[in-house]
């Protein structure tokens, strides 16, 4: 007996697993940059986040009596992204709490991969930020000569004392994944080159922040390189599930994120607004999608016909 299926009978080589693998590879340069600046604990925190994210996903699927999905690697990506959004000094139990929020609450309770409406890693970071503000804003002070001091210092967005080259190479304070701008840019361009992400979102996001900071009389380059903007723009605002699908929608999303980031950085109580901006825009994504839906080729809507006649 022959197999009977609907056409087509061949499929592309690209799989969701490969996409996730590409994202994992693209995160490595920034992670290595963080490791060089911030030391061995970077690896510990990342490993803990990845292991617990996968574990939570595995357990949740069993509890929910659903097919297990850890092989799609999306939990690994979430774990890595969360780790890169944490300071290197974070207590381990807090990092695990972040994984729980990201995987169990933000992702699996809404139905798992593809069903969550906010970026799990962003939600994990924000919950930790609001719950353990002190631990989440403790940065290792990095002396620009290169050695790591145990003292705590402010993020370069507040201290405003780092040079461009330090920001670019990662000789600065900040979360694990955001210190090394060069690593993020390499990873981001890799994803664009592999056609995993569209360049529209990151460039709209970064462009909007740079232009607004310039208008406000600040240094646009400094504001691009310092803080979590690059990490957020390339890796968090380009998440497929929680951002608009069309290019027009991605443009609106990116610019919206940029405006909110600028407003929080300039007028808000927090020095950093990237994660809040992305979270907010995640929530309005269904509206953007609805608003920017593409018109099928040659489509005629009955309403249009009435107007024409």
């Amino acid at each position: 007996m022959f197999k009977v299926t609907a056409s087509p009978h061949i499929t592309d080589n690209m799989t969701t697993q490969k996409i996730m693998l590409c994202v994992i590879i693209s995160l490595l340069p920034a992670l290595i940059g963080g490791f060089i600046t911030l030391g061995l604990r970077v690896l510990t925190v990342t490993l803990i986040c990845v292991v617990f994210s996968v574990l939570f996903e595995y357990l949740m699927r069993i509890i929910m009596k659903r097919q297990n999905t850890i092989s799609d690697l999306s939990a690994v990506v979430t774990g890595m992204l969360l780790a890169m959004n944490l300071p290197v000094t974070i207590p381990i139990w807090q990092a695990i709490t972040g994984c729980f929020v990201a995987i169990v609450i933000a992702k699996q309770l809404f139905g798992g991969l593809g069903q969550n409406f906010v970026n799990p890693a962003i939600l994990g970071r924000i919950v930790l930020m609001l719950s353990f503000t002190a631990d989440m804003t403790t940065w290792i002070k990095v002396k620009h000569s290169g050695y790591v001091d145990a003292l705590t210092g402010a993020t370069p967005l507040v201290s405003k004392d780092a040079s461009y080259i330090d920001l670019f190479l990662g000789n600065t304070g900040g979360c694990i994944g955001e210190v090394c701008a060069l690593g993020i840019i390499i990873g981001g361009f890799f994803l664009i080159f592999m056609k995993i992400i569209s360049p529209v979102t990151p460039f709209a996001f970064i462009g909007a922040v740079a232009v607004l900071e310039f208008i406000a009389g600040n240094d646009p380059l400094y504001h691009t390189l310092a803080g979590g903007l690059l990490l957020g723009a390339f890796f968090m605002a380009t998440d497929y599930v929680t951002t608009p699908i069309t290019s027009k929608g991605k443009l609106i999303f990116g610019v919206g994120c940029g405006i909110i980031t600028f407003v929080i950085r300039e007028f808000g109580g927090y020095p950093e607004g990237v994660s809040f901006a992305i979270l907010f825009m995640n929530i309005v994504t269904p509206y953007i999608d609805n608003f920017t839906a593409v018109k099928p080729l040659g489509a005629v809507y009955i309403k249009d016909e009435k107007e024409d006649n």
Partner: protein, 428 residues
């Protein structure tokens, strides 16, 4: 040249240098009464009747019907029920060959002096579009509007299939002769032959032959799938969009398959209706892949036997191409007018479906700009209002969305199911 969304598929044109080869007569044929889009014919022969080649064996008064002719000479053994691929039943005439191949007296060129004669002759030729959809040719070539452009579809964008290509290479003169005749009868000033870039020999051949003919031009089309889809071809060659609910003829355009033109010319010249066709036989179980000229009604089993296919290794048998072909469950299925290929595959991949990650690849691949991921979501909820809003009715079932989906979701299949859902609700 304007382009719509498209995908790159492997070409696999392994049989492009295989000359068209006439296969030996099969011991019997089973000719279905419905091989075109539209209404079935009624058998007009009885059991034990002696039949000759080219004799009409089925006809109907319905507008969308195309007469059916015998491809062999012999005796009618049975008139049986036959299940066509959409699940409905029609009659089929089974004829045992006597190997004499006596040609029927009715086979003689018809006199064509007026447009009415022409349309009548086109219907009598038994032709429906040979590209795959099987639209009755006598309806296509009888447009209400004045036609400015006749587009000849030589794109053949499906992987593996080379039957149109071989006809173009081996019968270029007949095709041009047929085009001259059609354009004269319908008073069409402009004829375009569209051929994909991956067939440079065909483009070169036609360019040389058409040097002194001003009203027929060759254009080379990008080698992208689905270049041969009617709407895509019209957009690529003329930049025109066919609106929903309209036909190309409303814009003064007719698109016709290149093999259809060839067989029309055969009918005009000799009076021999469509009784055989070229079928590409390929696949990893087929040792002697090639392009075979087979009588309509020959069983797949017989053709695959001739092509030295290892039949016990077949896991999937496809009538048509890899992208739009229909899987066959019975190896005794007869070849119909619209069967441009038989693919007998051993290695098949039926990948595991996982959740949609909303990457938007399906939307960016869809030539008609649909959003298959949204259609799928609306279909799961049986939300017909949303399905109508997303215009699932415009889907041409090219399969690009399923092909490209990284989560291996069966989006094209869902689109077809969604269309059925809408039509079943409209009927109520």
């Amino acid at each position: 040249m304007k382009k719509l969304n498209s995908i790159k598929v492997p070409h696999n044109k392994n049989t492009k240098d295989c000359m068209i080869e006439k296969i030996p007569l099969p011991p019997f044929v089973k000719i279905p009464m419905l091989m075109n889009m539209g209404s079935p014919c009624n058998p007009i022969v009885k059991i034990k009747d002696t039949i000759s080649v080219g004799q009409k064996i089925g006809d109907s008064d319905a507008l969308f019907s195309v007469p059916v002719y015998s491809s062999v000479s012999g005796t009618v053994k049975a008139i049986s029920d036959y299940r066509i691929s959409d699940g409905s039943l029609c009659k089929a005439v089974e004829i045992e060959c006597d190997n004499l191949q006596n040609i029927s007296d009715s086979v003689k060129p018809s006199e064509i002096n007026s447009r009415e004669d022409f349309v009548k002759a086109v219907r009598e030729s038994g032709l429906s579009g040979l590209g795959g959809a099987g639209f009755p040719t006598h309806i296509k070539l009888n447009p209400k509007n004045k036609i400015n452009t006749l587009i000849v579809n030589g794109a053949e964008c499906e992987p593996y299939i080379t039957s149109d290509y071989r006809i173009m290479i081996e019968h270029a003169d007949e095709i041009i002769e047929g085009l001259n005749f059609i354009s004269k009868m319908l008073d069409i000033p402009n004829v375009i032959i569209g051929i994909e870039k991956n067939k440079p020999e065909a483009i070169k051949l036609f360019s040389e032959k058409l040097q002194n003919i001003n009203n027929i031009n060759v254009i080379s089309l990008p080698s992208l799938y689905p270049q041969g889809a009617e709407k895509v071809l019209i957009y690529t060659s003329l930049g025109k969009i066919v609106q929903e609910g309209k036909l190309p003829s409303d814009y003064g355009i007719i698109v016709i398959n290149v093999s259809t033109v060839y067989y029309l010319n055969v009918y005009f010249k000799t009076g021999m209706p469509l009784i055989n066709r070229v079928v590409t036989v390929d696949g990893d179980t087929v040792k002697k892949a090639g392009n075979y000229l087979v009588p309509i009604g020959t069983s797949f089993d017989y053709i695959l036997g001739y092509a030295q296919c290892e039949k016990d290794k077949i896991n999937k048998l496809i009538a048509g191409g890899m992208m739009m072909g229909i899987t066959v469950y019975d190896i005794n299925q007869p070849v119909s007018k619209i069967n441009n290929a038989i693919l007998a595959m051993n290695k098949i991949n039926i990948p595991k479906e996982i959740a949609c990650i909303r990457c938007g690849r399906c939307m960016n691949a869809c030539p008609v700009n649909l959003m298959p991921m949204e259609i799928e979501r609306a279909y799961k909820k049986k939300n017909t209002e949303m399905l109508l809003k997303y215009k699932v009715n415009l889907c041409i079932n090219c399969g690009c969305c399923t092909y490209i989906c990284p989560s291996k979701r069966k989006l094209a299949e869902t689109n077809q199911l969604a269309k059925l859902l809408i039509s079943s609700i409209k009927k109520k």
